[in-house]
């Protein structure tokens, strides 16, 4: 395995008295797609929120060798750990193009930004067709593509994706999956993928963890998860 770029060690998060994350530890290697699956409310989003610095936590999150405890959220983004939330949090009255430019707002390398714009438009031709359209007026799938595109404009080393397939049509899910594989293959991007859609995560992730009620129940490679009886019955099912 390659060196870990993102290490989460013994992470605890409390919401008032409820214990949302109970000693979660993960180690994500450079260039891999790491899937975190589990039911709604298991703590996947809480974990990503903690890593991004949006909720307080006990334990350590180490990104590229740096402890993130004292690093402010905007600094984390600028250092290349970019978070694409389940709500997407797009700028509703900005056009597709303006949303993408916002992703790169802190960058000074004009040529790099232009190259990344081309890369995003090539990756998602639907966005290219809708450059001037306001984000708010687009379909869910297009908004998800825009959210991923905006995150890519920040020049990430690690991309955290929360439920990128939620509520989307199968054909769009395929497009997004293909985009993730392209990114991993072409740019060596590391992706931390939190998904209820275990089939999607199993299709694309190199390694996975199963999280239930705030605890990691199972971790392993794609092959181990694929053959695991419990995962197959509880999460993949036969549709």
């Amino acid at each position: 395995m390659t060196d870990a770029i993102l290490e989460i060690d013994d992470l605890d998060v409390y919401y008032g008295k409820s214990h949302a994350l109970k000693g979660v530890s993960l180690s994500i290697g450079e260039g891999e797609i790491y899937g975190v699956i589990g039911p709604n409310g298991a703590g996947k989003t809480t974990m990503l929120n903690a890593i991004a610095g949006f909720v307080d936590y006990d334990g350590t999150v180490r990104y590229d060798g740096t402890d993130l405890a004292a690093v402010r959220p905007q600094r984390i983004v600028r250092d290349g750990l970019v978070y694409c939330t389940e709500d997407r949090d797009l700028f509703p009255y900005f056009s597709v193009h303006e949303n993408l430019l916002m992703g790169a707002q802190f960058r000074d390398d004009r040529d790099g930004v232009r190259a990344d714009l081309d890369m995003v438009y090539e990756l998602f031709p639907r966005l290219d067709e809708r450059r001037e359209q306001e984000a708010e007026t687009m379909s869910g799938g297009e908004q998800q593509m825009l959210a991923v595109g905006r995150a890519l404009m920040s020049g990430p080393d690690v991309l955290m994706l929360d439920e990128p397939t939620l509520g989307l049509a199968p054909v769009i899910i395929q497009d997004i999956g293909a985009a993730l594989e392209t990114l991993q293959a072409q740019t060596g991007l590391t992706i931390l993928l939190a998904e209820q859609n275990a089939t999607f995560a199993l299709t694309h992730a190199d390694r996975l963890s199963l999280i239930e009620t705030g605890e990691i129940e199972l971790s392993g490679t794609h092959g181990e998860f694929h053959d695991n009886e419990y995962v197959r019955e509880a999460y993949v099912g036969v549709h």
Binding site: V77, R78, D89, L90, P92, F94, M102, Q105, F106, R150
Partner: protein, 290 residues
């Protein structure tokens, strides 16, 4: 009749430009931080007094930029020293800023007394009677119009063409989205207060130069800013500019055809109509504060 209409258009255009300057800063601060700055009028007033004092010793062309800078810094200081610590609580912010406004009045009463402080940005007037227009607009009114549009133009360029400025608009649409794209919200808010202060300073100079500075001159601009922001749509800069012209022309229409004493009546009626039937305002959709 034709002469009246020409007067109306001329005066309405000039007064509306000043109203736009008054309202934009107020609406920007509301859009970005969700803060109602009741000291906005006081910043405008401080612009008038700072300019009035400086212009006694310096050339107006020197006093003007210094005043803008001073009021911008006052506004920024108001945010850093007071508002940023209480901005999460709407009621406390409301009270804290109104106290600042009242305190400013007291300071001015102690320092300058209650009689108006006169000042000159540009002197002279234009006689338009030969052209059938029954008015003698002062040159300072034209200058105010130009200043207003130069300021609006610069602001428009900043918020639509630069990453820095675009971040201000972005933060007013989605704070979380701004954080996710690496925007420093604190710095965005500080910049917004700085810009709002500069615009308020310019408005104050024009108001002071047309009508003199008085210790209670903050009330009317603050009320205007409220009305304009409601009609234009809370948080929308474009809406504020449009609504400033709506209000300015309504007022001028009443003055021309009804009488000076009824100046504010029609715009108040329109305000009520908006509150009842279109509370989101003309461009309210731009407001999506989290």
């Amino acid at each position: 009749m034709l002469g009246d209409i020409a007067t109306l258009v001329l005066q309405g255009t000039m007064i509306s430009a000043v109203y736009a300057l008054i309202a934009i800063g107020f609406t920007m601060i509301f859009g970005v931080g969700g803060t109602l700055n009741l000291a906005h009028g006081a910043l405008i007033m401080s612009g008038a007094y700072v300019f009035g004092v400086l212009a006694q010793g310096a050339h107006p062309a020197v006093a003007f930029p210094i005043t803008i800078l001073v009021v911008a810094l006052l506004s920024w200081g108001l945010y850093q020293i007071l508002v940023r610590w209480v901005e999460e609580n709407v009621v406390i912010t409301f009270l804290a800023t109104v106290i600042v406004a009242v305190a400013a009045t007291e300071v001015i009463l102690i320092r300058f007394g209650s009689s108006p402080l006169g000042m000159t940005l540009v002197s002279g007037a234009v006689n338009l009677e030969p052209y059938g227009i029954n008015a003698r607009p002062r040159i300072v009114q034209f200058v105010g119009f130009v200043i207003s549009w130069v300021a609006i133009g610069l602001l428009w360029y900043y918020i639509t063409k630069t990453d820095d400025g675009r971040s201000i608009l972005a933060a007013s649409m989605s704070e979380r989205g701004a954080q996710l794209t690496g925007v420093d919200l604190h710095s965005v808010r500080s910049k917004t207060w700085l810009i709002a202060g500069a615009l308020a300073g310019a408005a104050g100079i024009i108001l002071g130069s047309t009508g003199g500075a008085t210790p209670l001159m903050w009330l009317n601009p603050l009320a205007l800013a409220f009305m304009i922001v409601v009609i234009g749509g809370i948080g929308s800069i474009k809406g504020s500019v449009v609504a400033a012209y709506v209000i300015g022309f309504l007022e001028q229409f009443t003055v021309t055809f009804v009488g000076h004493g009824f100046r504010g009546i029609l715009s108040l009626v329109v305000l009520v109509v908006f509150l009842l039937f279109m509370p989101q305002g003309l461009y309210g959709r731009e407001f999506a504060h989290d």
